[in-house]
Amino acid sequence: MSDLKFSNDHEWLRTEGDTATIGISDYAQEQLGDVVYVELPEVGQKFAAGAQAAVVESVKAASEIYAPAGGEVVEVNAALEDDPALVNSDATGQGWFFKLKLDDAAELDALMDENRYQEFVAGLE
């Protein structure tokens, strides 16, 4: 099983110490289709859990991305500016969006592990 945690809104989160890397799930990128633009937050911006933190644009629509836990942005994935399709080709790897310094690691308890998330997605089909 992976070390990823997932939100109901199809964001994933991977922690290293008190920092979390955030992106969208493989299921989410499949639903969106070809990603053509990602509007990332700025380093230093602070978000509460559930706040809108980024926007991902596919050929057909714009979708909002929410912070799955609260914190301050410490890094964004500049590679998405030139190659937004990384979100499609490697959603949980090179297609990450931003990193947060977490306010409260206890907020992660509200998220799903990968098994529960896969069950959740299966229920949506």
Binding site: D9, D34, Y37, V59, A61, A62, S63, E64
Partner: protein, 374 residues
């Protein structure tokens, strides 16, 4: 993640090709009351680019096919549209609009003069209203029929002609905006050299029971891949073509929409169509607003309903179609601006999520049309 730009959620009719789409793994979505393929597993980007370099097969059977016939059919239709229908030669087709009394557009359509009839292809969302308009307008003097028993298949792209000609030898010689009866996979088809992508291509009307056979033989050609409504939309946007209900509607006139080319000289002189007062006044004095191409700077797509600002930050219009143009490789849009801001090169701002994105007015289309040269 949540979509801010979703699709409708009404239960759906299906086209005669529904099982083919499902078998191909299409993502089916509700569209104007029909379950339609948004894209196949290759995705919108690949389908769009394949259409521009090879050939794509589209199911557009949701569109309305209506025929009118009998003495005076062309005269009767001219009371409802500003296009020159009386002057439409046998085996020719032409684009026009059903206008309303205020000079707005009820629907846009293609009219083909074939087989002693006028065959109309109208938008799915408008087809019932169009049929009622014709029946009431003609008061029984001209015969009208809706052909729900027919499918419509579009084959579009620079290699469409070569692929179709293997099944219908006359296809290669068919002129642009011309129609002919052909046999494809043993079925009777009415083929027009026309389309909605800016590329060379054909629209093929066949009876529903033959639709699968025609689809199968064309899809079997090495140049041909299936494409869905997603690619159809990005292709027509790059080609600068209007989508009814978005770029044109009951409030926009054909003159504002840049469709003056579709109103023949005789109709401009004689009038005699709904909304002629406004339309002829706008032809004489120019409209107050115009549909223009808009090229956003940078990478951010500006979607429908995005507010357009002038250099002083004042609202001067609104985007009616916008997104990512796969062949352009960046965002593209169309919208209406005040006539004073409609000149190519005019600097504008687009208000996207609270930020102003610089943009400029550009000549349409974004991607040069590559129609068949007769």
């Amino acid at each position: 993640m949540s979509e801010t730009n979703g699709t409708q959620s009404v239960p759906a009719n299906t086209t005669p090709l529904h099982d083919r789409h499902v078998a191909l793994g299409a993502k089916m979505v509700p569209f104007t009351g029909y379950s339609m393929p948004l894209n196949y597993p290759t995705g919108i980007l690949a389908e769009h680019l394949h259409t521009r370099e090879s050939a794509s097969l589209f199911d557009v059977s949701h569109m309305g096919q209506i025929s009118i016939w009998g003495e005076g059919a062309a005269h009767a239709l001219e009371w409802l549209v500003p296009g020159d229908i009386i002057g439409l030669a046998p085996s020719a087709l032409r684009y026009t609009q059903f206008t309303n009394d205020a000079g707005g557009i009820r629907d846009d359509l293609m009219v083909t003069n074939a087989d002693g009839r006028l065959m109309l292809v109208v938008n799915a969302a408008c087809k019932d209203a169009d049929l009622a308009l014709l029946e009431i307008g003609f008061r029984g003097a001209v015969d009208v029929a809706m052909h729900d028993d027919k499918a419509l298949i579009a084959l579009q792209g620079p290699k469409a002609s070569a692929a179709l000609a293997r099944h219908a030898p006359g296809a290669g010689e068919l002129g642009f905006m011309r129609a002919a009866a052909m046999k494809i996979a043993g079925a009777d088809a009415v083929v027009t050299r026309s389309g909605y992508t800016g590329e060379d291509g054909f629209e093929i009307s066949v009876y529903a029971e033959a639709a699968n056979d025609v689809w199968d033989v064309l899809l079997d050609e090495p140049e041909v891949s299936p494409a869905g409504l997603g690619a159809r939309d990005s292709l027509r946007l790059e080609a600068g073509l209007c989508l009814y209900g978005h770029d044109i509607d009951e409030t926009t006139s054909p003159v504002e929409a840049g469709l003056l080319w579709s109103i023949g000289k005789r109709r401009r002189e004689e009038g005699g169509f709904p909304g002629e007062e406004r339309i002829l006044e706008e032809i004489a004095n120019g409209p107050k607003r115009r549909r223009v191409g808009i090229l956003p700077e940078g990478r951010t797509p500006a979607r429908e309903n995005t507010e357009i600002l002038n250099a002083a930050g004042e609202a001067v219009g609104v985007i009616t179609s916008g997104g990512f143009g796969p062949s352009v490789g960046g965002p593209v849009a169309m919208g209406y601006v005040d006539a004073a801001h409609a000149k190519s090169g005019t600097a504008l701002g687009l208000l996207v999520r609270g930020k102003t994105i610089p943009a400029s007015v550009v000549k349409l289309p974004f991607t040069a049309h590559r129609y068949h040269k007769n």
